[in-house]
Amino acid sequence: MNRSFCRIALLLCGCCLVTGPAAAFPPLPEALPEIPGWTVLREPVVYDASTLWEAINGAADLFVSYGVVDMHMGYYSATGGPEVRAEVYRHDSPETGFGIFSQERSPQNTHVAIGTTAVIDEGMLNILCGSYYVKLSTNTPGKSTAKELTTIGAAIVKHLAQSPVLPGMLAVLPVGGRVPNSEKYVADSYLGYGFLRRVFTARYGAPEGCEVFLIAHEDAGQASRTLDAYKKVTEPVSGIAGSGHLRVRDEHNGLVDLLLRGRMLGGVRGCPDTPLHSTLLRELQDRIDAAIR
């Protein structure tokens, strides 16, 4: 009876079934939890993708490009403590949640063990929590706020009850020499090309050093078409026939080494002809092969 009723209900509403479940979200207006010792100063406000600009202005465009569904915003205060602004962004997948988190953190930030991962800096704490991106900030001057921010952050993370797992593609990127907090997910237009989408990247050696990137496609044909599109806007430098290895000269991004392995297209850029470059290329190939085996 339950299944039938549910189907009928869905038909009544005329909804298309989505591919993959949307992340559950606490009902309004309880997305921001009660926290012992803290008061929610004002009624939390909910913004969706079409109204997010009212809260964060032009920065909303980036969030929309990373699949933001909605954002709950409120303010916490405690006697003698700072006023803390809490923004809870729900994104449409753990990848896009990680993507926006990665766009806003910096390798200079300090990692803290909250949620899936988090970074803290003066007056701010940014947390990735499954598909959610939580931003806590305070402008209250003269106070050391790290403890307060982490207290609130931990409470929100507990309330959201998400699985603390990073996107699996990050595990395919080389490990040795990776700059902490440098991993990114770029939703579209990686390197400035609209066809390079859903790209995982990380830096190696130094924050502005070698960059490794990786795109997982649906199938090998799609990966090959992406490579063909990139080849059209670059000039070939060298390649080993049948090896899946190609070096191109990109007039805007320099020399780029590409690896096509099945449905995976990866590459290394930013440090051509250095020992680190060669090491990364080898390790990337090994890890891709292990992943698709």
Binding site: P27, L28, A49, I56, E104, G192, V233, H252
Partner: protein, 390 residues
């Protein structure tokens, strides 16, 4: 644009890198050639700045190569903000622009007030300006906006007017302005009234219901010597949430620029193809019949999304919270999130179809939605047990 077109654009635009403003720029020096194409430029009010009609909104770009290509294409006016990417947007720009002569580009940034008044508010705002300058590795910006002003009172807040004066007098900014994307006509008139603002960055696009009011306010501002920069020109880039119906971006840009009072626009650019497309508008503002038609037809189709204008509310004899119910409709059909839609209905405390008993509907939607039909449709969600939707 295909790859060959794009590539030839990039090469041609590199040749045409040196605009009038780019005297002695890196691009011009590197190329050492005469520009082949004439970029359309307009004067930004009393600032006297001559800017190309299409500039670069940098807010979503994290690729230094894209900024360099924009400069090479003559898009010498770059727009960023203190808050974009937690400051990393300004940092990226600073790294790129340190290789260029300072006079070869025009940089604009925006800093939002934290509210409050008095000396503390002034100092807090200026501290954020200083942080932006450090990130940009510059001692001044060309245009400094008070960010996201939504009302006359915010535009005329004494502390912020004082902060803007200090920013200009101390050399942190050559010119000061405000940005607005809500109640634009009211805010623009306040900018005129203040006598302080030299530039207004305003939302303006073909989809605005109040476009005539925005257009008229822009005219008044220009008469008062204020320079106008247009933003949100693409109106979100799509006509629908599912992003199946893209806005014709060239047409949208040209529409805004038909008003010669708009000096320049700052569309966000994230790819070389977008850059090439937008740059082509810098050479020709003529709108084809096809471009005009694309904007009209797209706008008439309306879509799923209630704008929350409350035009409908007075017409409902039951005083229903129609915008909230339209939000639930959007959650249901746009986001396919039935639980969220139901939670909206529960919060509103509306059981069943609240329109039952009405023989006709007086709630008229400014976007042309059939309000009664949508309420009847989506209200059925309140009858579904919550456990089936979780």
């Amino acid at each position: 644009m295909n790859a060959v077109d794009r590539r030839s654009f990039l090469k041609t635009s590199a040749l045409g890198a040196a605009g009038a403003l780019l005297t002695g720029s890196v691009s011009a020096q590197e190329q050492g050639k005469t520009p082949k194409k004439t970029l359309l430029r307009r004067t930004l009010g009393k600032t006297g700045l001559q800017l190309p009609v299409v500039s670069m909104g940098v807010m979503r770009a994290d690729n230094p190569g894209l900024v360099r290509a924009a400069l090479a294409a003559g898009m010498v006016h770059l727009d960023t903000a203190h808050g974009y990417q937690e400051g990393k947007n300004e940092e990226m720009l600073g790294e790129v622009l340190k290789a260029y002569p300072r006079e070869s580009f025009v940089i604009a940034s925006k800093v939002q007030s934290e509210g409050g008044g008095g000396t503390a508010a002034v100092q807090q705002w200026l501290a954020k300006v200083d942080m932006s300058l450090r990130r940009l590795q510059m001692d001044h910006v060309d245009i400094l906006y008070l960010h996201s002003i939504k009302s006359r009172s915010d535009a005329l807040a004494p502390a912020m007017l004082e902060a803007l004066r200090l920013a200009r007098e101390s050399g942190r900014a050559r010119f000061v302005g405000l940005s607005t994307h809500k109640n634009e006509p009211e805010v623009i008139d306040a900018a005129i009234e203040s006598g302080v603002y030299e530039v207004v960055l305003t939302a303006v696009n073909f989809k605005q219901d109040h476009y005539p009011e925005v257009h008229n306010a822009i005219g008044r501002a220009v008469k008062a010597g204020i320079g106008i920069v247009g933003m949100k020109t693409m109106a979100g880039g799509f006509f629908d949430k599912a992003k199946k119906r893209p806005v014709n971006c060239k047409a949208a840009l040209k529409f805004v620029l038909q008003d010669e009072n708009v000096c320049t626009t700052i569309p966000g650019i994230t790819s070389f193809d977008q850059l090439a497309e937008n740059a082509s508008v810098n050479e020709d503002l003529t709108m084809s019949e096809e471009e005009k038609a694309s904007l009209v037809s797209g706008r008439l189709e309306g879509g799923l999304y209630c704008q929350g204008c409350e035009h409908c509310v007075p017409g409902c004899p039951k005083g229903l919270p129609i915008p909230d119910m339209m939000r639930a409709y959007m959650y249901t059909y746009g986001y396919r999130d039935l639980a969220l839609a139901q939670s909206v209905f529960r919060t509103l405390g509306i059981p069943g179809n609240p329109c039952d008993g009405c023989s006709s509907c007086g709630a008229e939607c400014a976007k042309g939605f059939d309000v009664a039909e949508r309420i009847a449709d989506v209200s059925r969600i309140s009858a579904i047990p919550a456990e089936f939707l979780s």
